[in-house]
Subunit: 263 residues, 3 copies
């Protein structure tokens, strides 16, 4: 924020590259001009852009957009569903080569379709971590699959062991599966269980809605890693982290002045 105002006392935020307080954005096929506009507006606030599911495969300007993000210091991730489809079709090597040729820096290894066992998934994590940073996603995209904390944590530990840099907890764009109940509210017992066993700076919580972002910021703190943030919500999310929106103002700005420092 060059030349921005500095008269308020706000939580301090680390500059990029940072290990905490990551903002992981979901790009659902921005146009080229909108990509450049987003970068000009807030590249310093965005750590990773995920071009969701198989959009990268279809978007005719994918390579051009990846290059623009990377030139601005933003990591670019493929969506996990694309890798799952490639694995089901025996095209993992082709995906790797294509992703490298496009300049993609992060690969998401997920099992949202439920076609992989834990070992196959870990093998993909191991394989891709040679050439890419791996974000391993945990959780099904299917609401009917039961969510069992011990299984999630075992999978997370297996993925970390296999070389994953980040663990992404499933929430989808809708925020109604994985770490959320069908009505969008947080499975707080699951979050507690994860927090007790996994280092939180390695976890990116998918939190597409404002209420979900608010819950994590109020509960875990302004430097929680949050994912699946809409491209329009990057600056609004930053205001939530800083206590400059009503939803978090009392928790961040006024009630906890102790943990605040000069912004």
């Amino acid at each position: 924020m060059p030349n921005g105002p500095t008269f308020l006392t706000l939580p301090s935020r680390v500059s990029k590259p940072r290990a905490r307080g990551l903002t992981h954005v979901l790009d659902k096929a921005l146009t080229v001009p909108a990509t450049h506009a987003l970068i000009a507006q807030c590249a310093d606030l965005i750590d990773i852009v995920k071009v969701g599911w198989g959009i990268g495969y279809v978007d005719p300007h994918f390579s051009e957009r990846v290059a623009a993000y990377r030139a601005a210091g933003v990591e670019v991730s493929l969506g996990g569903t694309l890798l799952e489809v490639c694995a089901a079709q025996g095209k993992v090597a082709e995906l790797r080569d294509w992703a490298l040729s496009c300049g993609v820096s992060v690969v998401e290894v997920s099992n949202g379709l439920g076609l992989l066992d834990r070992e196959s998934k870990a093998a993909l994590v191991r394989q891709f971590s040679t050439d890419f940073t791996v974000a391993a996603e945990v959780g099904s995209k299917d609401q009917s699959v039961p969510v069992i904390a011990d299984e999630w944590i075992a999978e997370m530990e297996s993925d970390l062991e296999a070389g994953a840099q980040w663990l992404v907890t499933e929430g989808r764009e809708s925020g109604t599966v994985g770490i959320y109940h069908g009505n969008g509210s947080v499975r707080d017992d699951l979050i507690d269980a994860i927090g007790a066993r996994i280092p939180l700076e390695r976890v990116i919580f998918e939190a597409p809605s404002k209420a979900q972002q608010t819950w994590f910021i109020a509960t875990v703190g302004p430097d929680v890693n949050l994912g699946n943030i809409a491209t329009d919500d990057v600056i609004p999310l930053e205001t939530l982290r800083l206590g400059l929106r009503a939803d978090t103002a009392l928790q961040i700005s006024a009630i906890n002045p102790v943990q605040a420092s000069h912004h």
Copy 2:
């Protein structure tokens, strides 16, 4: 998709101009730069843009935007409500002249306000089909009007007979009327009844939500005609058609490899 990747086996999609698998987009007053950006991104994926309801009458850059769409091979439709208001005010001839002067190629003839009887509607279809391609919409915008399959089909047959090129089934931008129940779920018995009597390549199903698009693609197939697609959803919809999003991946990519061909 020039120079795009081709290593996956996906449903084949016909190039424009095409008779099936149409994507009909709802434009709710894009700005001029956003119009150009959309065209540059995915004009080959868009068959028809409908500038919704009376927006064309108010948008100061309507003619300029119509010209941009048409130059890129995208048909442009007026919204049906505008014609209904014109009919109520006795200004149908004025609408026709103005639409021709703007370069509009498609006119939607609807009866969402319920002011027309079936004969008057068919007469408008007949009248406009001289100068324009006519998309005849069936269904009320009012949730309290009962939905009766036989009446829908009789109206569709009457509109086809009068010269309509396409039949658009009402869903609105909200997806909660016409072919949908109030909660957004599909009236599948109505769709079955339509499919049994009307050639589906002549029908455009308004399907604004991802769940509705998924239902039609999984039920009717990747080449179903879908309408009222948000401008941001054109590429996401294409990924649904191709089985590159979790919602349709199992139905399209993995479970039905038989119907797939090289993309």
Copy 3:
């Protein structure tokens, strides 16, 4: 609308600067190109842009965007939460100086966090009305705070007395608090009570959803002042005011031809 069509009979709308029929837009951090595109599209339809809550403090291009809006004859307001946080941190003078340096013309004085008593709020209205146009917001952002019409009206009268130009009735971006029930429906008894005591041209009703906009236009009239309009909804709202969308067409265009004049 230079060179636009004029063949329909529509409600007359006053040109800017106008005292009634204001459209007050919520800007949630548009990019710079999107700001310019919005201005080029419909600056004549926008009376005030509110850069919501603390976004102005974080947006690195805030001053540049304020200048663009002001050059196009659009007033720019700060969000009330920013002032509330500044008041809680004893930084009101700093806010004033910074806002003046950015070219902000309107300051919203609100009490959404509930930290101010009525007198302190009126004092802020008085203080800021020296240098800015003041929009005083009434209502809590907290759903659990009871909504009592007499208290709202007393606060509105106190704010007007203190120098507020406009009174903004709380609805938030969600449209589920203040003048709305939790399900988004309008508290019509509250609106009646306000209308009986406060001049409606001084009131801006926050109405983020189409249903809420429709209710106010159908109930109060096309020239009601509406606020928290999304940047994408400016032209769609204008079509609602003019009866060119199905939701208001019967009320505005057809049923009340008496109150219509040439557009």
